[in-house]
Symmetry: C2
Subunit: 225 residues, 2 copies
DNA sequence: GAGGAACTTGCCCAGAGTGCAAACTTGCAC
DNA sequence: GTGCAAGTTTGCACTCTGGGCAAGTTCCTC
């Protein structure tokens, strides 16, 4: 149901595959909601999605992989925003802007739900980690492309990797604190908190984590609660 | 908790368990060396360690978990160093000092080997990620304890999580770049490179990543010392 | 050295993941 | 349409994982 202006020939085959993939992740998410993590099998998912067990494995290598599509969608969104930023902008500022886009109800809702459903289960947490790491690699690549655009600039691998990793860590930290404070609350006030947490985290990063506590935005955060 | 004045009662049982645990990880590592990742089973490990398959699972929940003990040992070493730093020292400086300890032949050797053996295999990479994440959580806890010691200081959860995550990311970035540059080379020159990479990474972090890409910034080292 | 706690092991079973080959669907050309 | 090639689904069979259970073994304590 995505009508992009530049639709690259969605053949019947492609449509079917996309529909099946969607059916699988929907089924997996429903089972997660209904039975809780670890209480359903691949066979259950396949049955709910109307396919055979074997076909499930043609699409995903595990239950976790199927559920990871939620996190991946979430992080891909941020990554897309990052790529849209002008090349001459400082990377930290681009990152801040990209992360800011995550504090949007539509975007964060699936992630918030997954988070609450996932919290207790270790194998699901593991695939979350993988998703964040994958996003880090993507950011590194995006940043490299950006650097390549500016003439006379050399790529400092260490700088890029450290920066990308730190940015992602800050995003993760903000999300963690937000979930801990607000649960899966998606009300405007809660999203404001998330936005402020993201700003603060990137702020700490930009300031080199100078002072142990920066009262300026911290109090602001508490006011919102 | 380990080397306290109260003798840590190494009973026969404890010894046996420790020996078995060690035998398992040794066997796993040998098989990894000999057959490569994914080309041996839990049964192979158990046989090589002289125990039953069932007993293996009494110690580790998977092959990856058994191999992760290498990474965990590596990171625990850093964590221990971190805890040894004075409480009034800035956290970043403590982190720098702790990471510096990793550039030691004895410490880094197993990690370097594991890295080269692991690189291609995704499920092993995943458990590495988990180990780094676990270390992050430990650092957060250690930092909290430290903050609790200083009177009148409030714990800023976001600050701590963002900082710990960023520090770990910088350590990871330095290791990644080092492996990419030097492979598993443990010669003094190579270790110097690692040391400098760690210093630079933490330097970038402390400087808020404000400088454009610029390798080998020895000024930052001077600043910190 | 008797008794109990801790540990190992074999047995069993549900479920994960994958290769294979037979069926079926779609795309394409005639 | 007909037909064929390429892509997909599915059942089947198989290996491996992970863990519950109960019987056997080792270690500690009294």
């Amino acid at each position: 149901m995505t009508d992009e202006p530049a639709a690259p020939a969605p053949s019947r085959r492609e449509q079917n595959k996309a529909a099946t993939r969607q059916a699988i992740t929907d089924a997996a998410l429903n089972l997660l909601r209904g039975k809780g993590p670890g209480n359903f099998t691949v066979e259950d998912i396949a049955a709910a999605a109307g396919i055979s067990r074997r076909t499930f494995f043609n699409y995903f290598s595990s239950t976790e992989a199927a559920l990871a599509s939620v996190t991946n969608g979430f992080l891909d969104h941020a990554l897309r925003q990052f790529r849209l930023r002008p090349a001459e902008e400082p990377i930290l500022e681009s990152a801040r802007a990209a992360l800011m886009e995550l504090a949007d109800p539509m975007t964060v809702a699936p992630m918030a739900e997954l988070f609450t459903l996932t919290q207790q289960n270790s194998s699901l947490v593991r695939s979350e980690l993988e998703a964040w790491d994958h996003c880090t690699e993507q950011i590194i690549m995006a940043a490299k492309e950006r650097v390549a655009k500016t003439p006379g600039a050399a790529i400092d691998e260490l700088y890029l990797r450290a920066l990308a990793g730190s940015v992602i860590s800050c995003g993760k930290a903000a999300m963690d604190v937000w979930f801990a404070q607000c649960g899966a609350d998606l009300a405007p006030a809660s999203l404001s908190v998330l936005r402020q947490l993201l700003i603060d985290a990137i702020g700490h990063l930009g300031a080199g984590f100078d002072s142990p506590a920066r009262p300026s935005s911290h109090t602001l955060l508490k006011d919102r609660l």
